[in-house]
Amino acid sequence: MSRRTHSALPVHITLAIGAALVLVPIIWTVAAGFRTQISLLMGDVLFTPIGSNFAEVLWSKTSDFLLNYRNSIIVGIASTLLCVVVATLAAFSLNRMRWPAWTVHLFLAWTMIFHMIPPVALASAWFTMARAVGLENTFTGLILAHATLNLPMAIWLMAVFVRDVPKELEEAAIMDGADTPHILWHVILPLITPGLAATSILTFIFSWNEFAVALTLTMKQTATVPVAIAKFAQDFEIQYTQMAASAALAMVPAILVLLVAQRYIVKGLTQGAVK
């Protein structure tokens, strides 16, 4: 037996434990969506799968889940677009506009501090602000809120990606007669596409999962998926199985986005630029 197989075993065991830690709760949740409430509460190990929870969540007259789903998609895509556009411009400016060092550090420090504030702490203040300008219970209000919440992370990520584009490329473009918008569009953007994709995915998923602010700023027509899932926990009854079914459905877009965008997250795109 080779040394290689020996040393591979502990690695595989560690990986298996890690995978189990990540996957078991997800599998349990999905499985719960296929059980009856009684089977779940009895703690039966074996059960006969039923589809009624999903049917109920999706098509029952009392359920708004498809509407919530649409709302989440609208808010997720719009806030992600807004967030990455602002973050990319900010990152470009921070890296290339020759700001004094303290400005950049102060700005990045502030974004980090802002990122550390729990969204719940902001929710009530934002509700008051939104109501004052008539943005409560609108997509615009929630889109702005989500973009704001995600901007610090997006700026930090994009700042790193923009910084990694060799400075000489920008200078070469200047010598070729490019203005700042040309440089951004023709040189920087094509090179940070993988980073842009990664940032967009993360931003979208955070927006998709965000609960506290969405709960505060939305009502029935504008509620997003996490808000809808929480509604299954009511005063006198928690509908565990329907909650699990909607949670399972809520995972679908994240998985799809990752599968589609994974190929963009490739390394080595800047290879051959310098040296």
Partner: protein, 354 residues
């Protein structure tokens, strides 16, 4: 094409003065090399000509125009970067045509001019490749192609060969030289490699610590270095410096060397500069011990110890000499350089060549 005139150019970053008043004149069509050790300000000066760095004081003219406040794109200069700076997501053709595209030239004109430049640089078969699919020399040629496709008034090169291996460097040196002879475009070339400067340039500007030490043709600098810095910087292997004094027309040093200097005023302290290739082995000379022998096939290099004074000898003959042996060294009296040890300036007007 155009001449470049630099008058009293200064550059400071805060309190740090990088360029302390530099004057350089580049004539139309001339190939000028800026050389000097790292940090002497040569790259900064080039970037100031390009417009990538602001000018803190003085004046830079390209053609008849003062360009101090003119942005790079209106200066009509092209630059080749040390690390090529090719756009990695664009093909060779797109890289070369990018400036023309930005200038709003029609597609057929761009194609024609890129094809013409590719022809000159032997890149025609590589036009659809991406930079990462090219070798170092090919990338270097694309970077030059990007410059020549615009037909600019001035070419700027920033140490373009320093990333290439030695053999390719010699080859590209000849290619850049040939390109300049063919196009006749005014060229400013920055390098820290004095051999590159010597072989390529019409005129060399030697810089140190933000000032110009000497300007002249390669052979002029070799034959008449204005000071010890230039004398030591130009020429390889470097010039030997021997301390001593001048008495009655002879240079006499503590290591036993004594040579006739011709009519020179007596000084208590002087430095004799003599190039390794201007030392001869002669029984009439001063004795020195051989420390190291380096044979390159075409030349023999001896590192010598003359009573504590280190000397380098370079000869064309193969010598059957081993370390530890004694040789007798006689300087070629017509090729001496005398310097003031305090200021480093050349002493008297006596040229190094007869």
């Amino acid at each position: 094409m155009a001449e470049v005139q630099i008058r009293d150019a200064r550059k400071s970053y805060g309190a740090v003065e990088v360029l302390r008043g530099v004057d350089v004149e580049v004539r139309d069509g001339e190939f000028v090399a800026l050389v000097g050790p790292s940090g002497c300000g040569k790259s900064t000066l080039l970037r100031m000509i390009a417009g990538l760095e602001g000018i803190s004081g003085g004046e830079i003219r390209i053609g008849a125009r003062v360009v101090n406040d003119i942005p790079p794109k209106q200066r009509d200069v092209a630059m080749v970067f040390q690390n090529y700076a090719l756009y990695p997501h664009m093909t060779v053709a797109k890289n070369m045509g990018f400036s023309l595209k930005l200038a709003g030239k029609p597609k057929d004109e761009i194609d024609r001019r890129v094809a013409a430049a590719a022809e000159i640089l032997d890149l025609s078969t590589l036009l659809d490749r991406l930079p990462r699919q090219l070798s170092g020399g090919q990338r270097q040629r694309v970077a030059m192609g990007r410059a020549i496709v615009r037909n600019p008034r001035v070419f700027l090169f920033d140490e373009p060969l320093s990333n290439l291996d030695a053999k390719l460097r010699v080859q590209m040196r000849a290619e850049i030289k040939a390109l300049h002879q063919r196009l006749g475009t005014t060229t400013v070339y920055v390098t820290h490699d004095q051999v590159e400067a010597m072989t390529m340039a019409d005129k060399i500007v030697v810089m140190r610590a933000g000032v110009v030490e000497q300007v002249g043709s390669p052979l002029d600098l070799y034959d008449h270095p204005a000071n010890m810095f230039v004398a030591g910087f130009i020429g390889s292997p470097a010039m030997n410096f021997i301390e001593g004094h001048i008495e009655k027309g002879r240079f006499i040093s503590g290591c036993g060397l004594s040579v006739a200097t011709g009519p020179t005023a007596d000084t208590a302290r002087a430095v004799l500069g003599i190039r390794p290739e201007h030392l001869t082995l002669d029984p009439a000379g001063t004795a020195a011990t051989v420390v190291v022998v380096e044979q390159t096939g075409s030349e023999t290099l001896l590192l010598l110890d003359m009573a504590g004074q280190k000397l380098t000898y370079l000869g064309r003959d193969r010598l059957p000499i081993r370390p530890g042996e004694t040789v007798h060294i006689l300087p070629d009296a017509t090729r001496l350089h005398l310097f003031d040890p305090q200021s480093g300036h050349r002493l008297g007007d006596r040229p190094g060549t007869a």
